[in-house]
């Protein structure tokens, strides 16, 4: 029996699963609170719990982990025009599983550099200009960063005609600088994958050590990536399939957590209706968005704030005051698990709001222009109306006795026809909460990872 140990060192829990590669099944799962000071203690507890379930210490064929502990991978993205290279840089960072602390555009001002120093990012992604386009801003910003006291690694992914010069400015000041292809080589061509790869490499080389994650060596072969990168990788694998095993096609994943709600769409998002023209930057095929104000515990007050009392009351079928009271409770006690019908109803309402708002922000929308020949619809972002599959994951969804209504909160609403939300997708739940584990396993055994991820889906 070939067993893989796959771990997710989260900000609250360290989760461990044992996955049987031949059967493509989870044979045991365990979790323990993450120990922030000394990460290995929580890890050891989760592993020993797992071994207890398995009745001994198996001969692991792989021992891999992803992590979002200690604030995750912190990045700052810099570009020229907010809606163009700055946006492309942000997408590249999000796709690499980073927490994007802030996005800057145009020439950096002195106080912005001070702000970046205070934000203490792990990596700065510096873009600006299409290939052969604007050089000045990239050079200016590289010079500013070279003069700064910020020790972060800088990944340069801007205008190739200015990249070498910008890199030597930074290298000359002793910065760790790496060159990637431009995130926006032409105005209508997004190219985020090379920058994503490089972010991943810097994460492996530097960040793991800086976070003390390399002390996990006695338990693990390695911490390979930030957790959101693992989930994105699993979602892509599920959609595309491998040479051996077919994928499921376009899909949407919603991951509701305590601090954030992440949404992943794997699709082109082209207009599905005739006569609709597309505006703005092309969006990534594998697109991740993360909502820092939508979460079940740490971010519960912000979630209530974002939804507003009317929507919150509607979701719960109770007075808004009751929802607010529950929000305060779970914020105070992040480890609280709902008990009794009322708490479950409130917990469900929070999840419904998180799913609804997060997918709403991820999805594209239509804007109507009135022209002399009539109304002309223009699409911004991805059209998800024909999305065939919606997968829910994250603690509240995977543990919920009736997850259908939670996921349905993401669906198209007749009252808001401009939002390009999924109309009638099949609904599924990541039953064993293993998408991140599957994304990790995909690094070494993609076929087994895909089979396990598919088998694990509970179709509603």
């Amino acid at each position: 029996m070939a067993l893989a140990l796959l771990m997710d060192i989260g900000s609250t829990y360290t989760k461990a699963v044992a996955l049987d590669l031949e059967k493509a099944e989870v044979t045991a799962a365990a979790r323990a609170p993450t120990t922030v000071q000394e990460i290995t203690r929580g890890l050891a507890r989760a592993v020993s719990e797992l071994e207890k379930q398995l009745g001994g210490r198996p001969d692991w064929c792989h021992r891999l982990a992803c992590s979002s502990a200690a604030g995750g991978l912190k990045m700052v993205a810099i570009g020229l025009v907010p809606g163009l290279t700055a946006k492309a840089a942000r997408w590249a960072a999000l796709g690499a599983g980073a927490r994007v602390l802030k996005v800057y555009a145009h020439e950096l001002a002195g106080r912005e550099v001070t702000e970046i120093e205070a934000l203490k990012p792990d990596i700065i992604l510096l873009a600006g200009g299409t290939d052969g386009g604007n050089r000045r801003v990239l050079l200016h910003n590289a010079g500013r960063l070279a003069d700064s006291r910020c020790p972060a690694a800088v990944i340069l992914a801007g205008n190739k005609a200015a990249a070498d010069e910008a890199a030597s400015l930074l290298a000359g000041a002793g910065k760790d600088v790496r060159l990637a292809e431009n995130v926006l080589p032409e105005l209508d061509r997004l190219n985020v994958d090379p920058a994503r790869q490089l972010i991943r490499q810097v994460f492996l080389e530097k960040i793991i050590h800086a976070r003390g994650l390399d002390r996990t060596q006695q338990y693990l072969e390695g911490v390979l990536m930030p957790t959101p990168a693992a989930v994105l990788s699993a979602a892509e694998l599920l959609a595309r399939g491998t040479a051996e095993e077919s994928g499921l096609g376009d899909l949407l994943v919603v991951d509701v957590g305590g601090a954030t709600t992440d949404v992943y769409s794997i699709c082109s998002g082209q207009p599905t209706r005739a006569g609709v023209s597309l505006k703005g930057l092309p969006e990534p095929y594998a697109k991740r968005t993360v909502e820092g104000d939508l979460g079940m515990r740490v971010s519960a007050p912000a979630l209530y704030e974002a939804a507003g009392p009317r929507l919150a009351a509607e979701a719960a079928g109770m007075e808004a005051a009751a929802v607010r009271h529950y929000v305060e409770l779970v914020h105070r006690e992040p480890f609280l698990l709902p008990a009794g019908e009322t708490q479950w109803r409130l917990e469900t309402a929070l999840a419904v709001l998180a799913v609804r708002l997060a997918v709403e922000r991820h999805a594209g929308y239509l804007e109507t222009f009135w022209t002399p020949v009539g109304a002309t619809p223009v699409q911004h972002g991805k059209d998800l109306t024909a999305m065939p599959l919606l997968i829910g994951t994250g603690g509240v969804i995977t543990a919920h006795p009736d997850p259908g209504p939670l996921l349905s909160a993401a669906l198209y609403r007749e009252a808001e026809p401009h939002r390009l939300l999924p109309r009638a997708p099949a609904l599924a739940v990541d039953r064993g909460y293993i998408l991140a584990a599957a994304g990790l396993l995909a690094e070494v055994a993609p076929d087994a990872a895909l089979r396990a991820a598919k088998k694990n889906l509970l179709h509603l």
Partner: protein, 142 residues
């Protein structure tokens, strides 16, 4: 040398005439220019953002539905604000409604800051030849 030069091309305002836009894009590419085509229903802001990122040598604005005068107003000033003081700006198409005296129309658009203004029925080659001249690339066409 012309492949270094980028032209931002688009149809301004609530105007959905896409055919001429594609013909111009093709003609410019054939002449060796890099084309950043922002398509129909383009706003002034989109022209400027595209020109900024691509370090464009020129902005070519088309307007085929008669309301170009209102749409184009302010484009030159906005470009200057964005740091594109020297960028060339051409405009062409059915710029105004009805039969108006061309010299008057041309003057109004030049006053708005356009370097060249073209009446309906202009062939792409003429504007491209002007662009070559304005950019000092004229020897390459001979």
């Amino acid at each position: 040398m012309t492949e270094e030069k980028t032209v931002v091309l688009g149809v301004i305002g609530a105007d959905v005439h896409a055919v001429g836009n594609r013909i111009l894009a093709y003609a410019l590419a054939q002449a060796g220019f890099k084309v950043a085509n922002i398509g129909v229903l383009a706003t002034r802001e989109e022209f400027i953002n595209a020109a900024l990122e691509t370090d464009a040598a020129a902005i070519w604005v088309s307007s085929l539905y008669g309301h170009g005068e209102l749409d184009c107003r302010g484009l030159r000033d906005q470009a200057a604000e964005a740091g594109l003081e020297r960028i060339l700006m051409y405009v062409g198409g059915n710029l105004v409604v009805g039969k108006q005296d061309w010299a008057g129309v041309e003057k109004r658009f030049k006053d708005m800051g356009f370097d060249r203004v073209y009446p309906p029925g202009t062939m792409p080659g003429r504007a491209i030849a002007d662009l070559m001249r304005d950019l000092g690339l004229v020897n390459e066409v001979d």
